[in-house]
Amino acid sequence: MLTLHPVLRDKIVAHARADHPDEACGVIAGPAGADRPERFIPMLNAQRSPTFYEFDSMELLRVWREMDDRDEEPVVIYHSHTATEAYPSRTDIAYANEPGAHYVLVSTRDPDDVEFRSFRIVDGTVTEEEVRITADAGEPVPE
């Protein structure tokens, strides 16, 4: 199950809407081992594509080092699909390299509605999980 503060959910959705029709992507970091997403980190989609995303390699290094320095890990890795459903594609599964992360998928294919789903992707296997949006979840920390 993914437990997420509404402010963080809203930030993910706003990012996806802002970048539509390109795919948006990013991370929510949290203290290592705590499964608590807290720090919203929107990332540049170096591919700037409506069907593909990739974190810029230097931003990836900077953010991963920063998380390491802060004893954090990527709790949520999110991206959007702009014309298809919020479900992991073959490429999503192929490049899911953080087995501990919640992979959040948002779809902006409908201008009046948003699909927001979360999945575990481990060893090529996708398992959908419940998303619990609650203000009881950890308060977001400054970006």
């Binding site: 795919e23 490049y95 087995p99």
Partner: protein
């Protein structure tokens, strides 16, 4: 000669869980060969017949080796090599 190589979570199965290992070599290719002798299978996750794999990022200190010399990038004692799988995907 010691070059620190930082290993991402997903490749730590090859290093017995170690986040960081040491190796030697005067180019990235030699360094990976040196590591492969002790951590079998690790090199194949980083390179294929045509060179470094497309969706694996390798950095020498603060630079992406794609912009240096790829596998022929010179490395030396005291350098840090960092490996990070690309974070990528998409509807396609």
């Amino acid at each position: 000669m010691a070059i620190e190589v930082r290993i991402p979570t997903i490749l730590r199965t090859y290093t017995g869980g170690a986040k960081s290992v040491e190796g030697s070599g005067s180019t990235l290719a030699e360094l990976l060969g040196d590591l492969d002798a002790r951590y079998g299978g690790l090199r194949d996750r980083l390179q294929d017949e045509s060179g470094l794999r497309r969706f694996v990022n390798v950095y020498l200190n603060d630079e992406d080796v794609r912009f240096l010399g790829g596998l022929e990038t010179p490395v030396k004692d005291g350098d840090t090599v960092t490996v990070l799988p690309a974070v990528a995907g998409g509807a396609a």
